[in-house]
């Protein structure tokens, strides 16, 4: 059986492509971590669902045309690609890939 650290580094299936059409978002839980998925014009982004500020749910946040997500609780904005923010903490993002009909995430 692989060690937990190996599992953590592996690509993991998150959902079917047709579950996340352009303009939509979806919450998945992988390894006990809530991850918010966004399909923005065909590009899929994955970010830890809990805002590092007060744990607000980013899945309910507001996306913008520059690839950002703003927390619905207190407005912290994060770059969906990098998790970077002008605020005192940044969010965790995850690499994504589409293979066949499946969207997968790299949790490392």
């Amino acid at each position: 059986m692989p060690s937990p650290s190996l599992l953590k580094n592996a690509w993991q299936a998150a959902c079917q492509v047709d579950e996340l059409p352009p303009g939509e978002r979806k919450l998945v839980i992988l390894n006990g971590v809530e991850i918010a998925l966004f399909n923005i014009d065909g590009a899929v982004f994955a970010i830890n669902n809990r805002c590092p500020h007060r744990k607000g749910p980013l899945i309910r946040g507001y996306t913008d045309s520059e690839g950002g997500i703003k927390c619905p609780m207190h407005g912290w904005r994060f770059d969906l690609r990098t998790g970077q923010s002008r605020r005192p903490a940044q969010a965790t993002t995850y690499r994504t890939k589409i293979e066949g009909s499946m969207i997968s995430l790299a949790l490392a």
């Binding site: 500020h53 619905p72 207190h74 912290w76 002008r86």
Partner: protein
């Protein structure tokens, strides 16, 4: 829900809150101080503060040398928002505890806010919008003045006036306050500014010009923003609790009974969207302690608000002794 059932609900939620004590009490170890302040407010409004002196002493123990507090109790760099919340709970709690160590800590907190105000009247915290941040030291100074604390009295009054004017000067013509980055919808920030900062002036000494009008316009804007079902900001539990409590206080002070229906709709929505124990940030989300403290506070304030013959609801903001 009638008053008797609200009483039962408060007892039930308070019992849950106490069972979770290790997750909010500084006596159990380092904590998120914003959560601690939320918890101390529950104790204050449930009138159980005297049973929790050790929690207050622990809050004093993690005060930084500059008189402020850090977001997390074991950190050492002060930030304005959480410092104001902690200072406010200390001065209000000390009304009942009468402890010299707490009195000294409150005076150090006053020093901190006098030292950190910017020239134009604002206070700044990188985690929050400037307007929202400013409302919190102003709120602390509201209570400092209401309770007759004399430490650096003239400087406090001057700083408080500057903060109030900064807030009034930044009100939008439509009655709301906005921050493009933090609060584009304006809902939460408007609710905060009228209840935590401005309206106290109408109770304390009616000194700052334009407060009554600013509060009335802000309250009207909040009413306009309410969804038909009673929530604010797309079913945001936190913001709905903020708006409901804000309107309870502000419309009571403005003697505006016409907004009672808005308050009742908000309150009903909050009751309809609670979990078995506590509340989450949005309907269907898991309970978190901060929101649960807000929920208990809302229940307690609603009880006081329902008794419209008294000023009990104003006392729950500390603007009257």
């Amino acid at each position: 829900m009638d008053s008797q059932n609200i009483d039962i609900l408060i007892k039930d939620e308070y019992a849950f809150f106490l069972r979770e004590r290790d997750n909010w009490s500084l006596t159990a170890g380092p904590q998120d101080l914003e959560l601690v302040a939320h918890a101390l407010r529950v104790l204050l409004h449930a009138r159980t503060t005297p049973d929790f002196l050790d929690d207050y002493r622990a809050l004093v123990a993690c005060q930084n040398v500059d008189g402020g507090w850090s977001p997390f109790s074991s950190d050492t760099e002060s930030t304005v928002w959480v410092s104001a919340f902690c200072g406010l709970m200390l001065i209000r709690g000390n009304r009942f505890l009468r402890h010299t160590q707490l009195t000294q800590a409150v005076r150090q907190a006053i020093d901190y806010f006098l030292d950190t105000q910017h020239q134009d009247g604002r206070w700044v915290d990188p985690a929050w919008a400037d307007l929202d941040t400013t409302s919190h030291p102003v709120s602390f100074f509201n209570v400092v003045m209401a309770l007759g604390e004399t430490h650096r009295q003239q400087e406090v009054r001057h700083a408080w006036q500057q903060g109030m004017r900064f807030i009034i000067a930044n009100q939008s013509p439509d009655g709301g306050w906005y921050d493009e980055e933090f609060h584009p919808s304006g809902v939460e920030i408007t609710a905060h500014l009228i209840q935590d900062a401005l309206v106290a002036d109408l109770v304390i000494d009616q000194e700052v010009r334009g407060v009554r009008t600013a509060c009335a316009k802000g309250a009207a804007r909040l009413c306009d923003w309410q969804a038909q079902a009673g929530s604010w900001d797309e079913k945001n539990v936190d913001h709905t609790m903020d708006c409901t409590r804000s309107l309870m206080l502000v419309t009571h002070i403005l003697q505006d009974p016409h907004k009672r229906e808005t308050v009742l709709r908000g309150f009903s929505w909050i009751l309809d969207n609670k979990n078995d124990h506590g509340w989450g940030d949005f309907p269907g989300m898991e309970t978190n302690l901060e929101r649960t403290c807000d929920g208990i506070d809302t229940l307690l304030k609603y009880q006081a608000y329902s008794n419209s013959d008294t000023h009990d609801v104003v006392k729950l903001w500390g603007y009257l002794p």
